[in-house]
Symmetry: C2
Subunit: 256 residues, 2 copies
């Protein structure tokens, strides 16, 4: 029996119409669409393993997944071959045959997310599905101050909607920066891993700070409280994008 | 009888689902949606005059239009008031009361368009409705060379699908520049006015040059030929965006 090959996929998707990444009984998911496409292409069912879940309505520019196959299609050709069986709102942007030790989730070193806000009095149109439209006045300096509090290793219990209170909610935020171009605020956050809804809880709370409702001192207090009820609301999913997942150099996978 | 006020609108729209700007018998148009919204808001039908037509599927970030009204709504408040009656793919981004001499079409000095291309082996997702996806290899230097030919005042008969051959097809292209960021090629073109489908004919031909099929010398020959059949194909509408329309300073309208 031939040994199975491992193929890594880099996937872009518009999460608007999906119940998130992971297969579930009551709704269509990205994982399901990928498994269906690969089955149609190769004739065999293959489980597709993602680097992690994304929630209903969240987008990805560079979600990573892998699967095992005995198909003879070359690693680089899978992307376009799978795309022929995918809907317009999901696309495999890159495929690569990798070492059998590679695992999209367990090998991951870092994840990079971005969250996009359009701050304007009137609603945006062309990017309406991928930004959070905010018409309140925001103070960019207050946003940056509140953000500085969360960089580093902290217990982020105040910033997760997870219900399991007994878990270790310590995470390391490697960097968190805002860019302000015209009316477009982009939040780039990099970490070794994130708690359930953590980026959206952080953004929702930082925006409260940007409205002058939470000071930098209060932001510190919220972090220390380890209590979700002290933080701000969860920002809507449409602004959130999983940008990329970083893996160790030994796998020779493309980290650009 | 009170004098009618003149209101200028700056409009963003996603042209994907529309048969262009201008009202026509067999399809829904942006102009129609705006006139309907204003009638619902003010109780009176007002003709909405655009700065010019955009074709089926073409987008706008800053289309300009004006209308006359005796409504008491303040000029700045019209934008959000009209938006309450518009679908999600059309938004008035700004409204302003202007001098009665202002006319969105006849007062216009310049129009700025951009055309966006995603050059990648695999299809894009999140911006799929607003870019032309090209998977061919493109040479950016050849693109810039071909583009240099069209700047200035020329007879652009070779680059229009207009059928009226007796018209004066001389136009002045003030500037035409490409930007290349990652796989995203953005063409910014500014002119005093453009012929029917001129920007899309130019882009379609410049891309043929970028593929190595048309040299700079041949680009000059095509321009000189004044013959549409000599030029390249018309680029698809989805990549084209009317960015802004510029008016004389005397009107004190916002040209940012």
């Amino acid at each position: 029996m031939e040994e199975m090959r491992t193929v890594k996929l880099t996937i872009e998707y518009d999460g608007t119409e999906y119940c998130g990444w992971q297969i579930q009984p009551n709704g269509i998911t990205i994982q399901e669409k990928l498994e269906d496409a690969i089955q149609k292409l190769t004739g065999t069912f293959c489980r597709v393993h993602g680097s992690g879940r994304t929630d209903r309505g969240v987008h990805a520019l560079g979600q990573v997944a892998h699967f095992h196959t005995d198909s003879e299609i070359s690693g680089n050709d899978f992307a376009r071959a799978i795309n022929a069986y995918l809907p317009k709102d999901i696309s495999v942007r890159e495929s690569l045959e990798v070492n059998s030790g590679f695992h999209s989730r367990f090998s991951a070193l870092e994840k990079h997310y971005c969250y996009i806000i359009e701050n304007a009095k009137t609603r945006p149109v062309l990017d309406r599905h991928k930004v959070w439209w905010i018409s309140w006045d925001l103070d960019f300096e207050l946003i940056k101050e509140a953000t500085s509090v969360i960089v580093g290793t902290h217990d982020f219990t105040s910033f997760t909607d997870a219900e399991r209170k007994d878990e270790d909610n310590t995470r390391n935020v490697i960097s968190a920066e805002w860019k302000n171009e015209n009316n477009r605020l982009t939040f780039n956050i990099q970490g070794e891993g994130f708690l359930y809804k953590m980026v959206r809880c952080l953004v929702g709370t930082i925006i409260e700070a940007g409205r002058g409702k939470i000071s930098k001192k209060e932001m510190l207090d919220i972090l220390d409280a380890k209590d979700r009820t002290k933080a701000g609301p969860t920002a809507p999913p449409c602004g959130l994008h999983l940008k990329k997942v970083i893996y160790p150099e030994k796998f020779n996978v493309n980290n650009k």
